[in-house]
Structures are given as C-alpha cells and as structure tokens.
Symmetry: C2
Subunit: 320 residues, 2 copies
C-alpha cells in the first residue's frame, strides 16, 4: 500500500481515493493507524456539525438542503450518515439514504454512510476518524447525521462543534426529545415542518423549556429556528444560527477547549484499546479463560487485581 498515493489523493480531493482511505479506516484494515497518523497534521480546519432528532423529523432533508446551501457559496461539505443498524445482526433498516442521491453528483459534496453495528460506544471515534480524512482533504464543513433514536445522539455531541436537534410540531416530539436527553445536547433547535398546525405553540413551548434551564450571561441559550425542509424554507436561518454558535464558541475560547478535550479523549481511547488488547492476549487468552468462570471461587475485583499483577510481572520479565 502506497500511503503517498492516498495523501496525494486527499490533496487533490480525489473522491475515489478519499472513499478508499475511509474504507481502510472504517474496516480497520492494515495501515489504518499509520494513515490516521499521517493525515493528523492536516486536520483541525473543518467545522463539524451534528444533526440528530427523532425518526421522521426530516433530518436527511435538512442535511441535504444545508449541504446544497453551503456549496452554493463555494464551500465543500462532507456528510457522514450513521444508520441505525442492529448491533446484533448488522442489518440496515432504513433506505432513506437514496433521497440524498441528488447530492452525489455534486463535486463539492462527499457522502458516506456508516453502519453503527456492533458499537455501543466507539461510534463517535469512528465517525471522527472518517471526518479527519475529509478534514485533511480540505472539506470546510462536516455534517454528522444520525437517524433513529438510539444511543448515537449523545455520542455525536462529542464529535461535533455545533449540534442541531430537529423536531416536528406534532406528537409531543419536543417532550420526547427532552426525555431522551436531546434538550441538553442541542445548540440549535430546528422546528421542521413548521407549516403544520401547532408549530407556533410547539416553538413557544420549546423556548419556555429552554429558559427554565439554569443559565447566566455567559451561557449559550439554544436558538429555535422554524423550517420547512422540503420547501427549502429556513435553511439559511439554520446556518446563521450555526455561525452565531460558532462565533460564540470562538469568542469564549470554547472551540479550542472542546477540541482539546476531544483529542485527550481520543488518545485515552487508543491507549485503552491497545493496552487492554495486550493484557488480555498475554494474560488471559494464553491460559484460557477458565479463571473467568462465574462459579470460580475468586471474586471479581480480586481476580482483576490478580490479572493486572500477572501483566506487570509479564512486563518486568520481558525485554525492553
């Protein structure tokens, strides 16, 4: 594998090579860590937007329109869509990615779907790694879109600079959003399908709920924007709200702080995965897992200490 080829491909925004680089990372193929290290110094320039909300709220439509709007003034947009596939079967359930097809011919847009299979946790790391590829290739904006009401919403915040939560007027969506913890992750609320009955009341209710939360003059109070995604209404207003939030983060020096925290968390995760894999393969798998039987007389914390001590002994015995 020739890494320079990939680096050149990214520099030239070659979609085919970008897609292959992403695949290497997504499947954790040989060299993926090296590739991520190689592009590291090129990252940190793109602005990352998370879009989430309940099913049917119009997330794909809004994502679509935001991307079109951004490209209309010359920006490049990467979209990373996380599908709610089963963690148990790996089978995808939704087919609404097809709706995005009108964007696929746009030279300034790159769309990637990601399966969430198998990952309770870890989803945001993978999405962030893929975003880094697009970031290194010079994409100005990266949109993470999660469909479904699974565990991914809360993770996405950790990967995004600004998080948009999309709700619709009917069916107590905003109450559900609140219950699901979406209230606290939103920097911008979008009341989509706002031409429907009850939109004004829903917006008012949402604003009231938001002011009930603790805040002082330094707190960002999420904006509530009305839109009709299918008619391209409110899209500019959503972006303006995103830019105001971006400016807020920059003025308060919170964008750097966010990115610093994300970097530390990333290093922690890599270290954790590597050291656990080393420990488990050296200490547990070599002897078989017989010690780890629930009917073993050794209780769990005691056993854990023992395994760590065995690992330390192993390190002391081994060459430098």
């Amino acid at each position: 594998m020739n890494f320079d080829q990939y680096l050149n491909g990214l520099a030239q925004k070659d979609k085919r090579l970008i897609a292959r680089a992403i695949s290497i990372i997504e499947t954790e193929s040989k060299g993926h860590e090296f590739l991520l290290d190689k592009i590291f110094h090129l990252t940190g320039k793109s602005y990352r937007i998370g879009i989430t909300g309940p099913p049917g709220a119009g997330k794909s439509t809004i994502t679509n329109q935001l991307a079109k709007h951004l490209t209309s003034f010359g920006k490049m947009v990467g979209i990373i869509a996380v599908d709610p596939t089963s963690p148990f079967t790996g089978g995808a359930l939704l087919g609404d990615r097809v709706r995005m097809s009108e964007l696929t011919n746009n030279q300034n847009v790159f769309i990637r779907s990601m399966a969430s299979r198998g990952s309770l946790g870890g989803l945001n790391e993978k999405a962030s790694d893929i975003a880094d590829v697009l970031d290194a290739a010079g994409f100005d904006f990266i949109i993470f879109e999660t469909v479904g009401v699974g565990q991914s919403e809360l993770e996405i915040v950790q990967a995004a600079d600004t998080t948009i939560v999309i709700v619709v007027p009917e069916s107590g969506d905003s109450i559900q959003a609140m219950k699901a913890g979406l209230m606290e992750i939103a920097d911008v609320f979008v009341m989509n399908k706002s031409d429907r009955p009850g939109a004004e009341q829903a917006v008012a209710a949402l604003k009231t709920m938001l002011t009930f939360r603790w805040h002082d003059e330094n707190t960002w109070i999420p904006e509530v924007i009305k839109s009709v995604g299918t008619e391209n209404r409110g899209i500019k207003e959503i972006l303006d709200a995103v830019f105001r939030h971006q400016q807020y983060l920059e003025i308060k020096n919170l964008l750097n702080a966010k990115r610093h925290d994300r970097h530390i968390q990333r290093i922690r995760n890599i270290v954790e995965t590597k050291i656990m894999s080393d420990l488990w393969s050296k200490i547990v798998e070599e002897k078989g897992e017989s010690e780890l039987n629930p009917s073993s007389p050794v209780p769990p914390y005691n056993l854990a200490e023992k395994l760590i001590n065995d690992y330390k002994k192993h390190i002391r015995r081994s060459e430098n």
Copy 2:
C-alpha cells in the same frame, strides 16, 4: 465500616441495610469493591428481567403488576429503575416513580431508582452490581426498568436474562421500536393498552415483522403478548412467556453461556478501568497534559504507543 454487619443484613433481608449497601456501591464509596467481592459467592441465583420501550408505553405500570403478581406466590422481587437523567446536568426529569409507591410497603419488594447521569456506557455494570446485592440477599427476581428512549435499552439486554419490550398500538410505536433496535433485543413483546383501536392490527404487524427475521428451529422467536396494565390484564400471560423463555435458555444451555459472557465482560471492565487509571495517573497526569495538545507534532497513534511504552518502563523500574 463493618462488612459482617452488611452481610448479616443481606442474609436477614434487612431493607435498611440493603439500601445502605447499594448506596455504597452506587456512589463507589470506600469499600465498595470489597463489598462486591464479599457477596460474590452468594450471587447467581436470581432471575433478571429487563423491561424497556418508548416513553408512555406503560413500563412502570407493568413492572408494578408483574412485581405484585410474583409476590402473590411468595417470590421476592427487586426493581431497579433507571431514570433518563441528563448526562450533562444530572437532573432527573420524570417523576413517575411515585406511581410505584403502593409497592413500597410490600415486604417482598425492594425498589431502587438509579440515575443514569454521566454514564454513556457503564450503566449496565452499575445496575448489575446493584442487582448482585439483591441477588445475594435472596431476591428471586430482579427487574431492570429503563424509562426513556436513550442509550440504556441496548445496555440493559446485557444485564438481563429475559428482555421485555413494551409498545402501544398507536403512533407507529412498533416501527419506532424497530428503528431504535428494540426489535432485536426483545425476548417478549408486550402490546400494552391493547383495548385501544388498532391493537389487533399492530399485534399482527409485529408478528409478521418477527417472522421475517432469519430463524431456524433453534431460534427463540419473541412472543407477542397483549395487556392492559392499568386493569391488570395480561400480566400472568407476560410472566408465562418469560418463564417459557427462561426454560428455552436453560434447555439450550444459553443461560449459563449468557452469564459466563457477562462475567468475562465484567472482569474486562474492571481490569480496563483499573489499568487505565494507573497508567493515566503515572504517565500523563504527573507530567501534565501538554503532550496531549491537538496541535502537538506527535500524531495520536504514535503518542499512544509512546505513553504505553512509558508506562511499561515505569513498571520495570518499580518494585514488585
């Protein structure tokens, strides 16, 4: 702290001491690991049931009724309810725990609410630890109930022997459940509020969806039970389905396999937490986190390797 006092308390099913033991574990107070190790040999006897589903489906009501029914034939029931508090504020949103108050005077029922604050992941470990206390105290059944549509549903499966997903006929609940991945985690589906219009069609649709999934003669096909929780209808039928699933797990030797897997995962988690805490405090925190700046010239995987090597050197230098 006198651990024998707690052990005696558990043996005598003293609710006050059980509650205090659980608090020690929930808050990770001094001695919590020792306490969990001490009770380990007493655990593994209770049957663990997970109950989840969208908000408003009637989870608390059903949990209530199941507990009453089980106690009516002399069983002891522990209920662990996980509230969808914000991971950011720690504030609880729902107050429907109060509905359970009629059970609190029942000597054979122990109810504990758990905050999900701060834990993306880790929730099931804590719930399992609390279940172990009740298990050691001789509770026959432990019910985990999660309210909300957050990340907790998928985690609960890992802690439960049988998982019940509760839906209601209206508002496309079963479609939402499917999208959210609840389809694959359910061992028993409950169509609650089945006196409402559309219940028959919803049950039929659910059954059709379930048969579409891959299965052979050894696969457990989730049962679909109709109930009206508020009128105590269908409760016995739900329990019968749970017992059939339990029997299936036992005949196929899957219950032991599940518990073995959970035990291994538990040990892994303890080891991971301990070794990362050790590494981070010895290698990163002592030097400050300046190396972990996102604008550092050292890329992430390279840095992770370096930190692990520093840790190994530290271990080699240190006393046995």
